[in-house]
């Protein structure tokens, strides 16, 4: 290839990448500028691409109602509680499927667990509501969503942990037995440290799903417990949607997962590639 041609290809490639970046980043850009606009400016027929007057006070106004902050706390409790439960159950079940496939019900049971994740959740929205309504803690509680999200997160955790455990050589555990460790001590000494990066990435996937969930939260909770996802649509004034406050609040809600991801990205990448490259 001649030098001129090479430059042209490189230029076209970069142009394409730039266009792609523009498309993917535009919603994010729009969210940020909208969060700083006044309510009147957001409702113009001809939109502005840069706020005429900056309104950083929007970020304070969203907490004018004190319970809005509680919604973030509720979301955090539900996401974290669900993640811990998913991880605990998924790790135990994944270990059983990986190490004792026959006793644990075999490949078919493992696949059935995963297939729960593929089921369209909308189909069971109403039965779920009545089911949780019949429980002592009712629908409008942290516990109801923590348990409900297990339907989605536990299969994912089980399946991924199973794969991670399978990739951990059984001989390492056997070596630990011969060193004098009981199976439980061997698990904590050898197996768990080896799947830890995987566990962290599973935890992140579960946490982000539970943090972002809207449909079931909207149906089940709303009075005693509110998640931030069902608070966002409440920023209205009469029939007018307060886009600026909605965007400001969702920007705030984006921070925890982003920070989490930045802190744990090292494990995330290692965990997701755990099954890909051996050794």
């Amino acid at each position: 290839m001649s030098k001129a041609n090479y430059r042209l290809v490189k230029f076209l490639f970069l142009a394409l990448m730039g266009l792609w970046l523009l498309i993917t980043l535009f919603p994010f850009y729009w969210q940020i500028i909208t969060a700083f606009k006044s309510a009147a400016e957001t409702n113009r027929t001809i939109p502005t691409f840069w706020p005429e007057v900056w309104h950083p006070q929007n970020f304070v106004s969203v907490f004018a109602e004190a319970s809005n902050f509680d919604a973030l706390v509720d979301s955090f409790i539900i996401a974290t509680g669900n993640t811990l439960a998913s991880l605990l159950l998924g790790t135990l079940a994944g270990y059983a499927f990986a190490r004792f496939p026959r006793q644990a019900g075999g490949e078919n049971l493992a696949f059935w667990v995963l297939s729960n994740r593929m089921f369209p959740p909308v189909a069971v929205v109403l039965p779920m509501f009545f089911l949780f309504d019949a429980t002592p803690w009712g629908t409008d509680s942290h516990l109801s969503l923590i348990i409900l999200y297990l339907v989605f997160n536990m299969p994912l955790a089980t399946w991924l942990m199973m794969v991670f455990f399978r990739d951990t050589p059984r001989e390492l555990e056997e070596a630990a037995y011969l060193d004098g460790y009981t199976p439980l001590r061997a698990f904590f000494k050898v197996t768990l440290p080896l799947v830890l990066p995987g566990m962290i990435s599973v935890a992140m996937l579960c946490w982000i799903f539970a943090w972002n969930e809207y449909l079931f939260a909207n149906l089940l909770v709303g009075t005693d417990v509110r998640t931030f996802t069902i608070v966002i649509p409440t920023f209205t004034h009469g029939s007018q949607t307060l886009w600026n406050l909605q965007m400001a609040f969702s920007l705030i809600a984006m921070l925890p997962p982003v920070i989490l991801f930045i802190l744990l990205r090292r494990y995330m990448v290692r965990g997701l590639s755990l099954g890909v490259v051996k050794g």
């Binding site: 050589p169 001989e171 390492l172 056997e174 070596a175 630990a176 037995y177 011969l178 060193d179 004098g180 460790y181 009981t182 001590r185 061997a186 000494k189 050898v190 440290p193 080896l194 050794g279």
Partner: protein, 373 residues
């Protein structure tokens, strides 16, 4: 104290792997099990270690029955063919693992690990992880982990098979000098006959189902009880000639099946084979008992009634320390060991002096050595 006794051990999955195996390894004895891959050597070690449950039979150490004990209560240490080092722990922690399992005080652990590391010459690697050291160093680390455990029985599964030749020899010599291994019963598994002959106080040759022969290196090599044993030991491997015995004028001879080669049976074997004239028999001829004589060369050494036959060179490999020659005589291909400086051409006519007093005779059907009653 730590005598290992295995009685009537059976283990199988879809087919029997170990069938009524009996074996006693004395305290301080270095017992080597040699056999081809997939024959059940590792299974035997895993049964002794408690990683597999036997279908029948008992395993005892120092009179104590271990059969129903889990591996972590057996005081048995094992090195794995794959080394099975903990990848997330340093070399130090890998070696310290059995001591940590017993919750020994920190100072004791450090002291023991460092002294074992010095013994194995890996003390400079203690802070590295298994991923950062070479195969030979991994092997030493795995060995260190078993040594610190001070077990009643050592189980070593192909510990040096996957290393390159130079390090393999170096470590083989080290096994000779490791005092710890000589204090208790050691069961060492390998597929390499040279390792077995070099290291074993006694050697067990494993064939399908169990041990075909147990004995010292000399016994196993010179008096193999079974054709399988003779075939498995020795490099290049023994020449196997299916033949038919016949008596000509009162002298016993054998004729190679489907070929013209006929050789007299030497004096020491005549008596044992006398009752078998006109029977089919398998003759084993070790390559070192086939001497190649060049055309025109004077036959100076015909030690003990060697039979001399004409042959043609088929393949010659010069290997530095010696040469391996495959020659055809009367429709039979025989392998011979030659002097290192010899050069042979393909198709060259040579003569072979066969030490027929050192031939081995095996029953054609059972494969048993007919000379060993």
């Amino acid at each position: 104290m730590s005598r290992l006794e295995i009685e009537g051990l059976c283990k199988g999955w879809d087919f029997p792997v170990i069938d009524r195996l009996d074996l006693t390894v004395e305290e301080g004895e270095f017992f080597v099990i040699v056999g081809p891959s997939g024959i059940g050597k590792t299974t035997l070690l895993r049964l002794v270690a408690g990683l597999e449950r036997p279908d029948a039979g008992r395993i005892k150490v120092g009179g104590r029955d271990l059969t129903d004990l889990p591996p972590y209560r057996r005081k048995v240490a094992m090195t794995f063919e794959s080394y099975a080092l903990y990848p997330h722990l340093t070399v130090f922690e890998n070696i310290a693992s059995p001591l940590r399992a017993r919750r020994l005080p920190k100072s004791r652990i450090t002291e023991t690990v460092v002294s074992v590391a010095q013994l194995l010459r890996i003390e400079q690697l203690l802070s590295r992880r298994p991923g950062e050291i070479s195969g030979g160093q991994k092997q030493r680390t795995a060995l260190g982990r078993t040594l610190v455990a001070q077990p009643d029985v050592f189980l070593l599964d192909e510990p040096i098979s996957h290393l390159d030749a130079k390090i393999r020899h170096e470590l083989r010599l080290q096994f000779h000098t490791l005092e710890e291994l000589r204090k208790v019963a050691t069961l060492y598994v390998t597929h390499d006959y040279a390792e077995a002959l070099s290291l074993g106080d006694r050697i067990g040759v494993m064939g399908a189902g169990g041990l075909l022969q147990v004995g010292t290196a000399r016994e196993i090599f010179q008096q193999p009880q079974h054709l399988f044993v003779a075939q498995h030991l020795g490099q290049p491997s023994i020449n196997v000639v299916p033949a038919a015995l016949s008596s000509v004028d009162g002298a016993l001879q054998f004729a190679a099946e489907g070929a013209e080669l006929k050789l007299p049976v030497a004096e020491p074997h005549g008596q044992a084979l006398a009752g078998r004239s006109s029977e089919r028999i398998t003759v084993g001829i070790r390559p070192q008992h086939v001497k190649v004589i060049r055309d025109g060369e004077v036959t100076t050494d015909t030690t003990g009634g060697a039979a001399v036959v004409d042959a043609t060179v088929a393949i010659y490999e010069a290997l530095g320390a010696n040469g391996i020659l495959v020659a055809e005589t009367g429709g039979v291909r025989l392998t011979a060991l030659t002097a290192p400086d010899a050069v042979f051409q393909h198709g060259e006519a040579v003569r072979l002096a066969l030490r027929n007093d050192a031939f081995l005779y095996f029953d054609a059907a059972s494969g048993r050595n007919v000379m060993v009653a």
